[in-house]
């Protein structure tokens, strides 16, 4: 019967594992980091301008701004956090939490939309009807 070998963990000495930790990839280049930085600045400016154009409490503006936020977060996670290279090693930890995060928002949004509220002004048609007529 073949003996099973359990050599010592090649990554056990973390101080020397830095290079090996990246596996076979060289990591992002300086140029890529700068491109991502510029993209992040452009996205931030875009969010600001969209907010100025659409104003507050506008669904379209809010949707665009949140999509831009997700793009920014994805760029930071993929390039700055090296997830592009390490995804195959850490997805089992990160992915379930991200799924649960999205699920939580979806489930809470049902409660936010459908729950009965305490204050009568939340029942807008009834409250607005009780307001004095506009001058």
């Amino acid at each position: 019967m073949a003996e099973q070998h359990y050599p010592s963990d090649p990554l056990a000495h973390d101080a020397h594992a830095g290079h090996g930790a990246h596996g076979d990839h060289a990591g992002p280049s300086f140029q890529l980091y700068m491109y991502v930085f510029v993209a992040l600045c452009v996205c931030t400016a875009m969010s600001f301008i969209v907010n100025r154009i659409f104003g507050e409490n506008n669904l379209t503006g809010a949707g665009i701004i949140m999509i831009v936020a997700v793009i920014k977060a994805s760029l930071v996670a993929a390039i700055f956090m090296h997830l592009m290279f390490d995804w195959g090693k850490v997805y089992c930890i990160v992915l379930p939490v991200c799924i649960v995060t999205v699920m939580m928002v979806i489930i809470l949004s049902i409660d936010a939309s459908l729950a009965w509220h305490v204050y009568p002004e939340s029942s807008v048609p009834y409250y607005e009807a009780s307001l004095p007529a506009a001058p």
């Binding site: 830095g18 809010a62 939340s122 004095p132 001058p135």
Partner: protein
């Protein structure tokens, strides 16, 4: 037997990842759940409670400046870049020798210092924002809401009376707007002293009929004239530089959410800055070099996560 042993591929325990990186990713996913809970609660409260009659406070109502939020976002993005460049320098230094290696290590230390400085800038700007909130009493439990008339509504009138007395006595009169504001403040103070006004009417006289939220509108006779508020400028907007309280529906809920989210985020930023400071001190004693590459990568992972949280907090609090 020996031949079989050679053909069996060696087995490795665990993920092909340094232990520190694995541990940090596990920590980061706990932080994801932590901030998801807080931000999810904010989204639930914001979308669930307010209505058209009592809308969620606008940034002007609560003295929130989008410019400051955007500046802070830019500062954190720059700090994310500098920490990742620090790591890149240390990575490159591994394959260099002599003077080139020393130069890259010095560059890494410089990037680390810039990251720490940018983090401090973020916290200083946040401190100024918090001071503005404290000065205007935009704090949880300290904001007056006139949705339901109760004892605090009359405390609102007493607080406004003190502020009006101060404004009438010591308010500046450098511009036409300031003179008109002082005159309207004097008239409002006289009417309050005469006991003519209800809390909602006082609020209307402060912000003007145009700026009163429907839930705060006092009962008026049909055809009643529009009132120009003490704080109202010529263009109809409010002068937010004056210390005069007015009703902010759901203001206390807003303040609770704001301080919870930004407060916890600021504490995380502070934690990251402590770690950067420790590395800088280590660099002073010559204990920082290419062997610190993994440590800096792990610290950078934490810092990027803090940046990602702010990337979501900024639009949720300041923009939408």
């Amino acid at each position: 037997m020996a031949h079989d042993a050679e053909q069996t591929p060696p087995l490795h325990m665990g993920l092909p990842l340094p232990n520190g990186k694995l541990a940090l990713w596990i920590f980061l996913v706990t932080e994801i759940t932590f901030f998801t809970a807080i931000i999810g609660t904010y989204m639930l409260l914001r979308n669930g409670q307010p209505s058209r009659a009592a809308p969620w406070p606008s940034p002007t109502d609560v003295h929130l400046s989008e410019f400051i939020g955007a500046f802070n976002t830019f500062v954190l993005i720059c700090s994310s870049l500098t920490v990742v460049l620090c790591h890149w320098c240390l990575h490159e230094a591994r394959s260099k020798q002599g003077a080139d290696r020393q130069a890259l290590v010095r560059k890494a230390v410089m990037y680390l210092g810039v990251t720490l400085a940018l983090g401090c800038v973020f916290l200083v700007v946040k401190a100024f924002e918090y001071k503005a909130k404290i000065d205007h009493q935009i704090l949880p439990g300290r904001i007056f809401e006139l949705k339901t008339e109760n004892a605090s509504s009359y405390r609102f009138v007493r607080v406004v009376k003190e502020q009006l007395e101060h404004l009438v006595k010591d308010g500046p009169e450098n511009t036409e707007h300031q003179k008109a504001m002082k005159q309207r403040a004097g008239q409002l103070l006289a009417d309050i002293n005469a006991g003519k006004l209800s809390p909602k009417e006082v609020n209307e006289r402060i912000v003007g009929t145009k700026n009163v939220k429907p839930v705060d509108m006092p009962k008026k006779a049909p055809g009643a004239a529009e009132v120009k508020g003490v704080l109202q400028k010529e263009d109809g907007t409010l002068d937010t530089g004056v210390h005069l309280t007015y009703s902010i529906p759901y203001g206390n809920l807003w303040a609770s959410c704001y301080f919870a989210m930004t407060g916890f985020h600021a504490l995380h930023v502070l934690g990251g800055l402590v770690i950067f400071a420790i590395y800088l001190i280590a660099a002073l004693f010559g204990k920082f070099g290419p062997e610190s590459e993994l440590s800096i990568e792990l610290t950078g992972l934490y810092w990027h996560f803090v940046d990602i949280v702010w990337i979501f907090l900024f639009p949720l609090l300041y923009l939408v």
